[in-house]
Amino acid sequence: MEAIGLTIVDWLIIIIYFVFVLGIGFYLKRYTKNQNDFFLAGRKNSSWVAGLAFLSANLGALELLGMTGNTFKYGMYVAHFYWIGAVPAMLFLGIYMMPFYYSSKIRSIPGYLKLRFDEKTRVLNGISFAIMTLLVSGINLYAMALVLHTFLGWNWDVSMWISAITVAVYVTLSGLMSAIFTEIIQFFMIWFGLFLVSVLGIIEIGSLSEIVARINEYSPNISFTTLWSSSSDPTKNGMFIHWAGIVLGLGFVLSFGYWTTDFLVVQRAFSAKNLRAARMTPILASFFKMALPFIVILAGLIAIALSIDPKSGFKLLQDGGQVNYDSALPLLISRYYPPGLVGLGVTALLAGFMAGQAGNTSAFNTVWTYDIYKSVINKKASDKHLLWMGRVSTIIGVGISLITAYWAKSFPSIMDYMQAIFSWVNAPLFATMLLGMFIWWITPDGAFWGLITGMLSSFLMYMGVRFNWFDQSIITLSSVQSDMAANFWRAWWAWLICALVTVGVSLFTKKKPKKELAGLVKGLTPEVYDKNIPFIKKPEFYAIISLTVFIILNIMFW
């Protein structure tokens, strides 16, 4: 493809963004004096700040490109990632889980595992999370360089090093606070930089209903424009999946596993100024999450509608004879955006990449410092020393990400493995957290062995299919399936195996005394929070509104 050309104005807008994020890092350094400031952003953020950062930490550019591309490939079913695959879990986190997280004053998710279970479960999760975070971070860096090289013609090494160094500088200077600030700037950059694609697409084609009509006319037998009505028969929808796979795999395990236990996002809620703000964090974020399909899904549908019209001249790129689905969004930007707006669109993608990198780095430095370094290596470390270690581990973390990125460049197939990595770590962890938080007699040994078995089973299921040890239909319970369907089902089985082993081992091993579990387990903790505020100010009230909007959206696009 001919690279998207940038004018001086576009470069100016990109440079302004870099000046802003670096400037913010230096500005915030003077307010970063102790470990609380560095790792928890001083615990003084409002629910709006924490909520937008909570959402943005997940909103990487790879997700934007990938989900638009996936919509082109699978149709509107991809919206499930934003609705059933996010909203119920976010509301559950805010209403039921956050009081235990926030009130126990932990700094990380492994920190909760230490209090609820024991040190070995904490270290196991800390190490697996740290490895996962660095691998994902490095792969993201590689993917960013690939995208910038493909669509903008930028030098591979230069774009990777500049963005990595920029992230390292501002996270080292002021930790989580600067990561949160840049995530919020990224949120606005993405909305202003990419929503216009959908607006202009609708203007060109005529209307939303015209887009849907064109796609339905082109594909009358396989639905690309509905959410549920074609889900009882996997052969009738673009994702080739049964509704049970969506509900159990995505809606329950993958979604709850990610949104309620992945420290990358939950860390943002820990920075809230009080428990009410922390509970409101994921609830507010759920409203913005529900709005995102109006960028990514709509752009994907516009790309389909244009590509089936030969007169439009719109066609996705081909790589080695295969369609490059990720090219949908950059090609739409190139099609519609005049100078200045191109710079804004590219900045939105860059901001997404870098904020994702910063999110991974700030989560890594916290888990490394508290759950590995202080927990295993130096138990008597002082406040000042831990702050220093946070900064050092930031630089080392970015360095390892760079090494991983070069590793990925040498072995591009590693990308395929990484797509499944979340289900290896997060799906079983959700079973451990759910059982531990709601059932008092789950034991430390039960949690530890359940977690190990769950992670191993997920990994082996992935490898088994990849190397043809057994057929994928054993996992998906269907003769037709897509990779996405396999991901959903694998997550469900890993969760179930972890839950069964945890319960089974807990029946025969030593339980913790109930008095040690106060504040950590529902039923043993007095629920005294938010009692004296009016109902319309309670997180529950906003959760009900969010749930209502969620139901309406699902019915509208049924």
Binding site: I185, F192, L200, P339, G340
Partner: protein, 69 residues
């Protein structure tokens, strides 16, 4: 040194949108007066003018509201 209260994030977001929106708007006006030879699809709706204005209004309101804080 840190006695001065920290500026809220909305101040930085507003300033960023104000500057970038202003640049995009000015480029749109320039292209309206001197139309380029090679034109993008939907050039005639001049998205950079009205989108730039929206950004300036949004960013300006955010910036001015938080400037004194």
């Amino acid at each position: 040194m840190s006695k001065q209260k920290m500026k809220p994030i909305w101040y930085f977001v507003g300033l960023n949108l104000l500057i970038v929106g202003g640049i995009i708007f000015l480029v749109g006006i320039y292209q309206l007066i001197f139309p380029p030879e090679f034109r993008k699809v939907l050039f005639y709706v001049h998205p950079n003018i009205w989108w730039g204005i929206i950004m300036v209004i949004f960013g300006g309101a955010m910036f001015l509201k938080t400037k004194g804080k």
